[in-house]
Symmetry: C2
Subunit: 244 residues, 2 copies
């Protein structure tokens, strides 16, 4: 099963026909995107997206140029639901890697919701998850120290990728540059680099060539005070692929 369907069916059981219908729907709207493409610039009218492959970030800027990455979207994520109501959005959506994304018009979106009540429910779950995720990120930035933040973020990414079948063994993608990671974690690239070295030195993770290798997952979770509850709101993601 592909990541998009893995993701969609985490909380809602979908018939095979509904799944293939959804897959076809997404396939039809999917377009390639290249690393660093902006899908949406501040001031644009909002749109709804379904990410098929690749990584996308939402980023906000302060007047003086400081930037914060405020969300990370991975394959299968459906985001900015109803955003088409907003005449001028305040953020940028940027592709971190090459990939494919489906851009939904309002009518596309309505058709999708109307297609089946299960899909509508899956979309609601999607929103709830993203809200929970934002809350966790707030806690991350507000309460955790730099090293803890880094560890927590690595846990989250590995866990999320694992849930959609994109982690192999103890390894997953990590296409961010250190500067980008620093923008996610609200710290300086220099300091982030030192945190990564610390984790490397403690034999907890290895980060090379944009691959993240988790050497000691439980240690990593401990350092990051990571509790995956916010990623699996109803406690059922996929028992067959329990990570670490």
């Amino acid at each position: 099963m592909n990541p998009v369907l893995e993701h969609l069916t985490r909380h809602v059981r979908l018939s095979v026909s509904a799944q293939s219908e959804f897959a076809t729907f997404v396939q039809r709207l999917a377009k390639p995107i290249a690393a660093d493409d902006a899908l949406l610039e501040p001031g644009d009218r909002g749109k709804t997206f379904i990410l098929v492959s690749g990584w996308i970030v939402r980023e906000a800027s302060l007047a003086d140029g400081r930037r914060q990455i405020t969300a990370l979207f991975l394959p299968g994520d459906i985001f900015d639901l109803h955003a088409d109501l907003i005449p001028e959005c305040g953020y940028r959506l940027r592709a971190v890697t090459d990939g494919e994304v489906a851009v939904l018009s309002r009518s596309d979106f309505q058709r999708l919701v109307a297609a089946s009540p299960e899909i509508a429910e899956a979309l609601t779950w999607e929103q709830l998850e993203q809200l929970a995720n934002q809350t966790e990120w707030l806690t991350n930035l507000g309460q955790r120290k730099a090293l803890e933040r880094v560890a927590h973020f690595f846990c989250e990414v590995f866990w999320r990728l694992n849930a959609i079948g994109l982690a192999r063994e103890n390894q997953c993608d990590m296409p961010f540059t250190q500067a980008e990671l620093a923008e996610v974690l609200g710290m300086t690239p220099v300091h982030l680099n030192r945190c990564i070295q610390e984790l490397r030195g403690r034999r907890v993770v290895e980060l090379r060539g944009h691959k993240l290798r988790v050497i000691d997952g439980s240690r990593l979770a401990e350092i990051g005070l990571f509790d995956p509850g916010y990623l699996e709101l109803d406690g059922v993601i996929d028992g067959s692929r329990e990570p670490v």
Copy 2:
């Protein structure tokens, strides 16, 4: 007009009859809450709320006891839509002050949405606003320094209260203790206290007896790098009550 209706009609025009219908609906479900009451504890099944009066916060805890306030709800705010799907929520909802809140069951909620398409749209706006707000809070914690965070938060609260008619002159409520404010802003109470003194010393704001007085609003906005865009997504809140 009361704060709840002020809030509801910021983005969507509602007929007088729809408004009074909504008001009646809320009134019927409204219950008093006392300061420090927990409306929801971690592990509870989620519910949907409409805040009639008073302040409510959402707060998250780390395993070691550190706490972060991740959202602030003011009169008129409708929050945790669809949360009843979640069997075990991960946060606490706590009343900061006495007030009144309507707790909606799933059927209440569905009845509300069915009542009119305008109300359904208003609820969608509500979600979009809260998302935008969370994004701004993330930027606040990630990129702004302590003093800037304090200034920004004061701007936000004053602006939001002003939009629903709960700010008089340059003054509004600020019922938080400094310890709570510190939990909103991800810093130590001690350091928060020093930031407040700094703002007081610069004659920007005054904070006494749980009232916030904005002495120099444009200066405050400047210090906090505050851009109200995220609070008024479609640019139309209420031209007749332009703050500061």
